[in-house]
């Protein structure tokens, strides 16, 4: 009884805890990367020492074309997924080699070696359809006739897998250019330049 009378009220000091939690939340909110639906995470981008920082764009003002090769997880003798030094699964190209051209909101164009021509034809049609829609939208926004629009302001971003052939990427760029897309960007993983 005497001890109770003499003791102070014990309180847990939550202020430093709150400070810390708020700082962590702040960190995550700033670094959070809500990946656009258009960006396919399965594309293994090539590395580039000369790639520049991406200028901020809003979700609606760009079109991404993903070109990728289907991959499967590598399995060890026990059937477990092999992993690299960072714990990431090692992925091999699926056999037979299957490639995809992916536009957001459209069905994937899936093809194998030898079917590139057909795939490029489908992709060209998709680009053409997109250009028609965007031209109409731009004409309404700028209050001019559709046929007066020479250049579409929406940039095309091409994310091609390391294993894709150059001859698949370039025709898409040419087609985009022909349809009036004046800005075409390639995407790569940025790496620091090694002194040679």
């Amino acid at each position: 009884m005497a001890a109770m009378v003499g003791s102070d009220r014990v309180e847990l000091n939550l202020t430093p805890l709150l400070d810390l939690v708020l700082q962590i939340i702040m960190f995550f909110m700033i670094t959070v990367n809500f990946v656009s639906d258009q960006v396919n995470a399965n594309v293994t981008l090539p590395s580039s020492t000369s790639a520049q920082e991406i200028q901020a764009k809003t979700e609606t003002d760009f079109i991404v074309i993903n070109l990728l090769v289907d991959r499967v997880d590598r399995k060890d003798a026990q059937g477990r997924t092999s992993r690299d030094g960072y714990g990431r699964p090692i992925r091999d190209i699926a056999q037979p080699k299957t490639m995809r051209i992916i536009f957001a909101g459209r069905e994937d164009i899936v093809f194998r070696q030898g079917e590139e021509g057909i795939a490029l034809g489908k992709a060209a049609k998709a680009i053409s359809d997109l250009a028609r829609v965007l031209r109409r939208r731009q004409s309404i926004r700028e209050k001019v006739a559709e046929d007066q629009i020479k250049e579409l302001k929406v940039p095309i971003i091409i994310r091609a897998d390391v294993e894709i052939q150059y001859g698949l990427v370039l025709p898409l760029i040419v087609q985009a250019n022909r349809e009036g897309f004046s800005k075409v960007e390639l995407r790569a993983q940025t790496v620091q330049q090694v002194q040679r």
Binding site: A41, E53, G167, I173, E185, V194
Partner: protein, 176 residues
């Protein structure tokens, strides 16, 4: 009177428990959705301006009777990347308008062939850049079956060296 009010004023407490709950929920959400991804960069490119213009620098099968077409805005340098049957980089040709042309190939016993080619390419382009001066454009032509990774490495080698930019404005084309 004032003294009395001070004495009997109720103790105001801010209930921080719900706030803490919410913060922990937010923290949990962000921790679960956090995926540090590799940093992507952009790579602006141009197309070889017209079908006629592309490949003008490349003196393959020159017709001696044909009069040369003068296109003042044509880049001085054309780099032609050729692929082996398996799609890997095999050799690189450099053409300089009104000047030299050369082929870069790795020595037959080399194990890191494409690395050597690209190192040599950057070195040669540095020399050419010094000779021709201000033009910061180049045409890159590549075989259709060249792997995209190798094509990108060739473009990288053309765009900049470790000591600074070389030909940052690239025009892309296919080997004809």
């Amino acid at each position: 009177m004032a003294k009395n009010r001070e004495k009997w004023a109720p103790e105001v407490e801010l209930p921080i428990t719900p706030m803490l709950d919410m913060f922990f929920q937010m923290l949990f959400f962000f921790v679960m959705t956090y995926h540090p991804s590799a940093l992507e960069g952009q790579f602006p490119i141009n197309l070889a301006a017209t079908e006629d213009r592309a490949g003008q620098n490349q003196p393959t099968n020159p017709d001696p009777k044909a009069s040369p077409r003068v296109t003042p805005d044509l880049p001085h340098v054309t780099v032609v990347a050729k692929a082996a049957d398996n799609g890997w980089l095999e050799s690189v040709d450099i053409f300089v308008r009104g000047g030299s042309s050369e082929t870069l190939k790795p020595p037959p016993d080399s194990t890191s062939g494409s690395e050597q080619i690209l190192r040599h390419l950057t070195r040669r382009l540095q020399e050419i850049k010094k000779e021709i001066g201000g033009d910061d454009r180049a045409v890159v032509q590549a075989s259709g079956h060249l792997r995209w990774e190798d094509a990108m490495r060739v473009m990288d080698a053309c765009r900049r060296s470790s000591s600074g930019p070389l030909f940052p404005k690239l025009e892309l084309d296919l080997v004809r």
